[in-house]
Symmetry: C2
Subunit: 624 residues, 2 copies
């Protein structure tokens, strides 16, 4: 069997930065060549970054993407890398430089993969399965491909696939089996979700079995707005053996020698991509329509240089460690890719801001994190102490700015009472943080967790101000777990735990009125989070939640709070998705919505957002 030294480049592109992304391809192709690789693969939409969303509709951008691809092919030759086949994702559309009408039968934009070789675009493949669910809108953007491209490299037939192709049975992997390939390369832009890595390996195994071939999976790494890509690139044989696997959340060049079955030379008809009649003979669904286009790239290769390349299998991380890494990377890349030098946040002494401050310190270093204690007359002494304690432990830039003078001036000039006074305090804090941002250039971080966002337990334009929210998709109970994990991890590494024990242990309070506790308005968080996870992440209805053992009245109250807080979420800052369903484009609900989960009870005709102004959540929809 021929030996192929394959390199998977798990790298971090930036949306829109065509030049920078091409530079990454050149640098990592050089590293791959230096390691003796005979083929190197980069992630989905590598050249443009992913997802580019409506940039797809900008002709100037599409033209630039295609020009960048041609330029890259030439630059690789200039770099002395012309003989190394480089697989790279890019944005394509009609016209050159696609191979032929057969290879790209669709019209309109295409999520494509190019094989760059000898200064040419030697072959292309167009993504067949387009995800149009969750955070994905690829049905909006792309025309699907219906041809499987098989490239012969060093005597091995290599089939090309892209991301969602892997998640569907039939289709390209079934076509790859019929085409008799030795290797399927799949390039990915697969966002992180908790424990998704536990799903990926069995999935790759299923597709490897379906294709009857080794599958090489390369994923990007890095943050893009609400998404964070976790890498987790790997190679799996047809019989399900995991050969090598890259660590999550860091750039990594995975180089591994593969023994692969040699191709049947008779299958090659380079000038006339053959229609694979076998594809029509078996199976069902979309796979039936896939044709196979074969391209001869290179004959037998020399054996790769010694020593044998072994990628190794990175130690798996999971649970809180995995989530923490995702949140750190998501924040770091949002800050870096948007050109900020520092962040600022309000530090209350409570658990949410303590965890966000610690994530920020881990992401950026303490000297780039400004934390401001913003005490009011209702702030407890321990809150201020806890904030100062965290500042001391982490070394971040700590400041104290009492809000009472501003609050008092508002109260002297306006007639406000009750909830309006509570919200006022949060809004004065927001004005101060935004003033610091304007004056000093920091990105403002907001710290509302997923439970708060769900029930609207926040003040619009108050504690919710900010450009990014690292814990937006983290349930309150998970915030606590992350805090404990981070402190324990510090102990394991012989460093000082960053988060004061008191911030973790004390009952949560917004401290907007004397003696206020979250539990005045909300059930205990373990109870609340269980209901919310069912309703938000699981789309469970009221009766299902009650049947699952939750108190009916409590379910009714919680669901109502979630429904009525939609307008607040619509104006909320972006934050890193870590769950199966994050607020934002992952969960799209109307604001104007009279549907209320009520079991079999009738829905009151006058039930609307504004009618609910007596709701006792902090900053309730009266805040609209």
């Amino acid at each position: 069997m021929p030996t192929l030294r394959l390199a998977l480049a798990q790298v971090n592109p930036t949306v829109g930065d065509l030049d920078g992304n091409a530079r990454i391809v050149r640098e990592w192709s050089r590293a791959a060549a230096d390691a003796g690789a005979q083929l190197v693969a980069f992630p989905e939409m590598m050249l443009t970054g992913y997802p580019v969303e409506d940039l797809v509709f900008r002709d100037s951008f599409v033209v630039a993407s295609r020009a960048a691809l041609r330029g890259l092919a030439a630059d690789l030759v200039a770099d002395g890398l012309g003989e190394l086949p480089v697989l790279v994702g890019y944005l394509d559309a009609d016209g050159p430089p696609t191979m032929s009408a057969d290879a790209n039968p669709g019209r309109g934009p295409r999520n494509a993969l190019a094989v760059l070789h000898a200064g040419r675009i030697a072959a292309t493949y167009v993504k067949h399965h387009l995800p149009n669910y969750g955070v994905f809108d690829e049905g909006r953007y792309f025309v699907p491909g219906d041809t499987l491209t098989v490239v012969r490299i060093g005597g091995v037939d290599v089939a090309l696939t892209i991301c969602e192709d892997l998640w569907q049975a039939g289709g390209p992997f079934a076509a790859a089996r019929r085409a008799g390939v030795g290797l399927v390369v799949t390039i990915n832009g697969s966002p992180y979700e908790l424990d998704k890595d536990d799903v990926r390996l069995p999935l790759v195994r299923r597709r490897a079995a379906e294709a009857g071939a080794t599958v090489a999976y390369v994923n990007m790494v890095g943050g893009q707005d609400e998404l964070v890509f976790d890498g987790d690139s790997m190679i799996v044989t047809a019989d399900g053996t995991l050969l090598t696997r890259a660590p999550q959340f860091v750039p990594h060049l995975l180089v591994h020698d593969l023994e692969l079955p040699g191709a049947d030379a008779a299958a090659i008809r380079p000038d006339a991509p053959l229609r694979d009649e076998a594809a029509r003979a078996e199976g069902s669904g979309a796979a039936d329509d896939m044709t196979v286009s074969r391209v001869q790239l290179s004959d037998e290769l020399a054996a790769p240089p010694a020593p044998r390349a072994v990628g190794g299998i990175a130690e798996a991380v999971s649970g809180e460690a995995e989530i923490w890494q995702a949140l750190v990377l998501g924040l770091r890349d949002y800050v870096r890719k948007n050109g900020f030098g520092s962040v600022v946040l309000g530090l209350s002494g409570g658990i949410d801001s303590a965890v966000v401050a610690t994530i920020a310190v881990d992401a950026l270093g303490p000297e780039r994190v400004v934390a401001v204690s913003l005490p009011s007359g209702h702030s407890s002494e321990h809150s201020r102490d806890d904030a100062a304690d965290l500042a001391k432990r982490t070394g971040l830039d700590y400041r104290v700015q009492p809000i009472q003078p501003m609050v008092d001036t508002f109260l002297a000039n306006l007639s406000l009472s009750g909830l309006a006074v509570e919200n006022l305090q949060a809004r004065v804090r927001g004005v101060i943080l935004m003033g610091l941002s304007n004056q000093e250039g920091h990105l403002v971080l907001t710290t509302g967790n997923k439970s708060e966002l769900a029930v609207g337990y926040s003040t619009l334009y108050g504690d919710s101000v900010g450009g990014f929210n690292p814990v937006k998709d983290v349930w309150k109970t998970l915030v606590w777990k992350l805090a404990r994990w981070r402190n324990d991890d510090a102990v394991r590494h012989g460093t000082e735990p960053p988060i004061p024990e008191n911030s973790i242990a004390k009952p949560p309070s917004a401290e907007l009125r004397p003696g206020q506790l979250d539990t005045d308005s909300l059930p205990d968080y373990p109870v609340l989070d269980a209901i919310l996870a069912g309703y938000v992440d699981g789309d469970m209805g009221r009766d299902d939640l009650v049947a699952a053992g939750h108190d009916a009245q409590l379910v009714d109250r919680v669901l109502r709070m979630v429904d009525l807080a939609e307008y607040k979420r619509r104006q909320s800052a972006p934050g890193t998705k870590i769950s199966i369903k994050a607020f934002g484009r992952d969960r799209r609900l109307p604001i104007t919505n009279r549907w209320r989960e009520r079991g079999t009870d009738p829905v009151p005709a006058d039930t609307g957002t504004g009618a609910d102004q007596t709701n006792d959540a902090r900053g309730a929809h009266a805040g609209l």
Copy 2:
């Protein structure tokens, strides 16, 4: 030829209000029966409202929609309306009460139409073409139907279609021709866009010609978050004659007698929906796969009672009048459907807030509109006078709340300068408006026009606070035109023009520093809006804009401002869509995005949002 008296019920459902929407169907079916109608059609997704977005994934909601449909069928009998066939849009999914696997071959949620008759769901149709562009995500939500349902009513064969089916050649209308129907009914949830009514009539004519049959088009009316449905229901014959057309923006029962060709009785096989082989014989694309399902509902009908019913053709409105009606309806329904009793906004004396206040007065009446003058030390005397003048002309609830004491307290406690001080003033105003909202329960309106949103000329959490923005999709130059039109319209009707001439005529200023004018930071609005319309609405690139005659340096500056303001737009309030491409889900761009339109110039590697803090726009991205 048989005569059929057809009623099209152009009504205003509310998303999620199953009971309320069913009540509308019963009331308007009663009115249709009273008018002698023999068939009445309601809009797309009538029972659920439209669009319901991710409610589709909530099983409890789907079950409730289906139960509401069955309940409605029974209630219509109880109302003595069992003999009137009622066509109503609803949300379906697998299982009863769909007719048969043949009629509903898909799995998963379906955008469906039911024919209610004699207490039964006599027939259903599933939308064939699913829009997945612009504001529409139907590829995310629905499984497409592949069967054309033809119902024989009073000896006439009636084909059923839904909305997007009308916008695509081939498909159901081509199948309707092959099925030899006399009438095609199309039920719609078609959102308003400027001059869309001018597109609809030719479109309906093309489809009527394609079907070789009369086409009856019924659309909903009313506001749903950012969409406003404008009605414009109509009936057009196969030869293109417009028989009747309803007014836009108001509920309307359009009743018209149609002379229609009688059906070929031989085609009927009620128990075995026949596969229409002809459908496979001609044409191309999706139409080829449509089968025809035929249902016998009623034999020859008695002639409708005299006098002959003639729906009439409503006078067309266009331009500013049409837009004004859309904006008024969009605001009124947002307020009403979300249960608010009143609105509050800041009234600066400038044109944007003057126009929004006038829209609010037209939508809600002056007694439900609170306008607050929020003068600072930089506010000119004429600004206060103009605000008071508008208040006097319209009779709204006018208040004055100087902001200087609060601004001064912030400045005494924080070290702020320049842009930070400008933004501070806007944010103090925001805090005051939100305080009034919390205290008194008003919905806060924000007044930033589309030009400001495009270039980020606003203060985040300052003048941008609010739950709804009536002029979000209105270019600044159009704001002025609307003001002039509204004043002229008042004169035409012999009432007082609401908007002070001075608010229209004076140079626009944010009045955040002495002598400030918008033109300090921005080009003249006619120049700016022309560039923005090309870039935002038209997806034109930099070189195209320069080729169109715009100054290259100015284009570069404006495009950069638009790109860098994405983070602000992501947190902006919803507002009524009136253009071909509104900010919001109509235009989805990443925040993290280093693509800069630069012609052939290289893109600087360090170009990011935060790096641009010297941009002189009011509340620039430093405000993040």
